[in-house]
């Protein structure tokens, strides 16, 4: 199938999901030790959406991300070391430590960028897509947002403009069942958000967001018409937020039974089983060990890096003219 990932791509998606999980777990440990700063929004259990969707893009395509973006960042090709450096406010971070974990941008990777205002990245992606329509570069803008952001007015406005102007944008709704503490059923008038696509005359797909191959295929299916100038698509990827809203979240509102029901659907465990069934368990284990080692080394290196020099603030608020 044209829109399915190759076996090499599947292995690479597995590796990236393991990298993201290892980052999240290490962040959780460091938070418990009081060694992190500010809230951190982990994406444990949701890795397949960010990694699968970005794997179906080209390097020069762009994405907008959310406050829960680590899988998007790593998926789009950012180095774990520089992402971690940014999370820890180091001068070696992608934004010199100015952004923190929610607002990371890396222009060279097409990560433009993290966003901590729910829904705000959606019209930004539509504007990026307008630029790509005009320069005829066949590039795509893909916007990640959650089921909470799907309830913002700006999401609806942006879907309308994108479809009206046939812009090359893919709306990826990473449906993790919660907007901070409030479940989706208490936020949305409809359970299946993909049906909203019909109201804007664009294709809508619902996909298992814990199946990285299914996510890849859905995005590849949406990308082809977008590159041909046929306009946007909407993908609702159903997943689940395993570890709460953020490190400042006291919890208690996600029922244990619900969490336990999702645990067997873990996207990494599922793909590990598939790869093992294809008789390459040794290779999978080695790959996993290498990914975790990369993350460990990235943490050591990033944490040893210096903080930015406050003297650089003297350069001021603007990009220099001319």
């Amino acid at each position: 199938m044209l829109n399915n990932p190759s076996s090499d791509e599947i292995v690479e998606m597995f590796r990236k999901m393991v990298v993201v999980r290892a980052i999240e777990e290490r962040l959780g440990e460091l938070h418990k030790q009081g060694k992190t700063r500010g809230p951190l929004h982990r994406c444990d259990g949701q890795e397949a959406v960010g990694v699968g969707a970005t794997a179906a893009l080209r390097p020069n395509d762009v994405i907008t991300s959310t406050h829960r973006g680590h899988a998007h960042y790593i998926g789009k090709g950012c180095e774990p070391y520089r992402v971690i450096a940014e999370i820890f406010g180091r001068a070696s971070g992608y934004c010199r430590g100015r952004a923190g974990h929610m607002l990371v941008a890396s222009a060279e990777h097409g990560l433009l960028g993290g966003n901590a205002i729910v829904g705000a990245g959606i019209p930004i992606a539509v504007g990026q897509a307008l630029a790509f329509q005009l320069d005829r570069s066949e590039r795509i803008a893909l916007t990640f947002f959650g089921d909470g952001a799907a309830q913002t007015g700006v999401c609806h406005e942006a879907m309308n403009v994108a479809a009206l102007w046939k812009l090359p944008v893919i709306f990826v709704c990473e449906h993790n069942e919660y907007g901070l503490t409030v479940p989706a059923a208490q936020q949305s008038s409809v359970r299946d958000l993909a049906i909203r696509a019909q109201g804007y005359a664009m294709p809508g797909m619902q996909v298992d967001g814990n199946d990285v191959v299914a996510v890849y295929t859905a995005v590849a299916t949406a990308a082809a018409p977008a590159r041909r100038g046929e306009g946007p698509s909407f993908i609702e990827a159903r997943t689940y937020r395993m570890v709460g809203f953020s490190t400042s979240d006291l919890g208690g509102y996600q029922p244990d039974s619900e969490i336990e029901a999702w645990r067997p659907k873990d996207p990494i465990a599922r793909l590990r089983a598939v790869l093992a069934a294809e008789a390459r368990p040794g290779r999978t284990e080695a790959l996993e060990a290498a990914a975790r080692k990369l993350v460990d080394e990235s943490f050591e290196r990033a944490l040893a890096d210096p903080l930015p020099d406050p003297a650089e603030l003297a350069a001021g608020e603007y990009i220099k003219v001319g």
């Binding site: 100015r98 930004i124 309308n160 003219v321």
Partner: protein, 324 residues
């Protein structure tokens, strides 16, 4: 030099810059086929085509976000927001997105976007179409805020705003569109961030912006007849504020009256007054005074609106209260 209307001067700047740079695109409500409700974009659809000059749905929040996204990947969008009163709909894109990008992303991408809008009262348009909200955006680091008072400045500053790699909120005034003045032919750029002394005087500095520059000049003429020599400083840009020109004028005249059409409380006049108090208090022979709109929503009835908005007469009365 040819005489142009303020609206024509803006149109000329758009036309000339778009001819030179294919990255410039225009979008907004009623700007393409109709040419804008104040005719600023008239003829540009015919000149540059529907890909670069676009009518949009009534979706200000998304339009502003789109301008941010387009700018990030190299376009130079000029977005028209029909009334400054609609600026609140765009504030997330301006304050949380556009203003943040240059600094927080450490200069990785350009943010060359211009949000054109127009504000001000005096036309009987009521409380939701008459406000002056320039101080609201001038509060925000990362934004530039330009409020031209004359056709010449409108042209030169709009051209500069389009070429600037930072986001610029460009606020026109509905009662200025039909004012005329000499405007240089051909490409013309004025520096953003520079105020201008538009009338020289010795007894008081009247520091104003946008349409209040014209009212201040009227007041200055009347004060001249009263034997008071008033200098008028046009701020032109509210952010970054030209400290040097303001302070030089006050150090010369020893008195300051600041005039703007926005509300007095928290208005740009408070910032200018604080600057003078911090940097030039020892030069002052009289307390600093501010003239602004009264702290009320802009009422519809002519009798009420005239009471709320500042005028040449109120500027003159305020100057007369100084120790001259």
């Amino acid at each position: 030099m040819p005489k142009l209307r303020y609206a024509e001067a803006l149109n000329a700047a758009l036309h000339e810059e778009m001819t030179l740079d294919p990255a410039i695109i225009l979008f907004g409500e009623d700007i393409a086929t109709y040419g804008g409700i104040f005719r600023v974009t008239k003829g540009l659809l015919e000149a540059f085509g529907p890909a670069r000059v676009r009518d949009t749905p009534i979706s200000e929040q998304t339009l502003a976000g789109m301008a941010v996204g387009a700018a990030m990947v190299g376009l130079k969008p000029v977005l028209e927001i029909m009334f400054a009163d609609f600026l609140p709909l765009t504030l997330d894109a301006l304050i949380n997105q556009a203003a943040m990008v240059p600094f927080i992303w450490a200069g990785q991408v350009p943010m060359s976007l211009v949000l054109r809008t127009q504000g001000g009262g005096g036309s009987g348009a009521g409380a939701q179409h008459s406000k002056t909200l320039d101080s609201l955006v001038a509060h925000v680091p990362g934004l530039k805020v330009v409020t031209p008072a004359t056709p010449r400045d409108a042209k030169g500053l709009l051209a500069a705003a389009i070429g600037d790699p930072n986001p610029v909120v460009f606020i026109e005034h509905k009662l200025l569109y039909n004012t005329t003045g000499e405007v240089p032919d051909g490409r013309f750029l004025l520096p953003i961030g520079k105020a201008e002394v538009v009338r020289s005087g010795n007894d008081v500095s009247i520091i104003a912006n946008s349409r209040m520059v014209l009212e201040s000049l009227k007041a200055a003429e009347q004060l001249g007849a009263d034997g008071v020599s008033a200098e008028v400083v046009d701020l032109r840009t509210l952010r970054p504020l030209d400290h040097e020109t303001i302070l030089a004028s006050v150090r010369k005249t020893h008195r300051a009256v600041i005039v703007h059409e926005g509300w007095r409380t928290g208005g740009i006049g408070a910032e200018v007054a604080a600057l003078i108090a911090e940097e030039a208090l020892d030069c002052l022979d009289s307390p600093i005074r501010r003239v602004g709109a009264r702290d009320l929503p802009i009422p519809y009835s002519a009798a009420l609106e005239a009471e709320v908005l500042p005028s040449a007469e109120r500027i003159r009365e305020t100057v007369r209260t100084l120790d001259l």
